[in-house]
Symmetry: C2
Subunit: 128 residues, 2 copies
């Protein structure tokens, strides 16, 4: 029976989060930062940059491992499932027992409606 | 012979980048933001949050695809190889032809010394 020793971590994503990420990354695409242009797009409004949904997952991982940096050799596989919009709360969960070398851990980020926005899988390095 | 149609993207990572990411993510671990504490650690100085190295890769992907959001179903697998420090230049490259459904694209982020800090693999969704 899998343990759950990684804390779930939630992030509230706002337009301010997205604007800050645009400044950090240099990615000012209108779909992220121009509410008028984005409203006219197929998305009907701004959406978050893809890596924003990844942040809560990363923090759940490092909190569960009790580290800051992920150990070299850690592999994170993420699949983008759905866009994240301003006002969404993204909650990351990682299922599994931390620090078991070679372990595969299932991970997911889910929004407040229960929609999976990102699914993932984490493999910790073999320390043997 | 593999095409190279994704532009390589470089990011210069500074302590200001790391501080901005700390504010954005809420991850103020001393190893990232406290230069004195970090100097006394095994790393000998501050290191970037893991997702920072991921940004250039994400931008290379979206630039090559001509999109903002990665298409739903896109899978990105990244393995952390080495820490990124203030002053490092991280260059992301993605090898392959964009928009071939089901394609696997090799990706890497390399610092200015040629050290691979992040290796990756990208699979685009099958649109068939």
């Amino acid at each position: 029976m899998p343990h759950q020793e990684f804390p779930p971590i939630s992030d509230v994503v706002t337009q301010a989060t997205i604007d800050a990420y645009a400044e950090l990354s240099g990615d000012y695409n209108p779909l992220h930062v121009d509410e008028v242009a984005a409203a006219a797009s197929e998305f009907g409004g701004t959406i978050a940059h893809g890596p924003i949904a990844f942040q809560a997952l990363f923090r759940s991982l490092t909190a569960g491992l009790g580290t800051t940096a992920l150990p070299p050799g850690t592999t994170v596989r993420v699949t983008y499932r759905a866009p994240v919009r301003p006002g969404d709360t993204v909650t990351a969960t990682v299922a599994g027992r931390p620090e078991e070398p070679g372990d595969g851990l299932a991970a997911a980020c889910v929004d407040q409606r229960g929609t999976t926005v990102l699914s993932g899988h984490v493999t910790l390095p073999d320390r043997g």
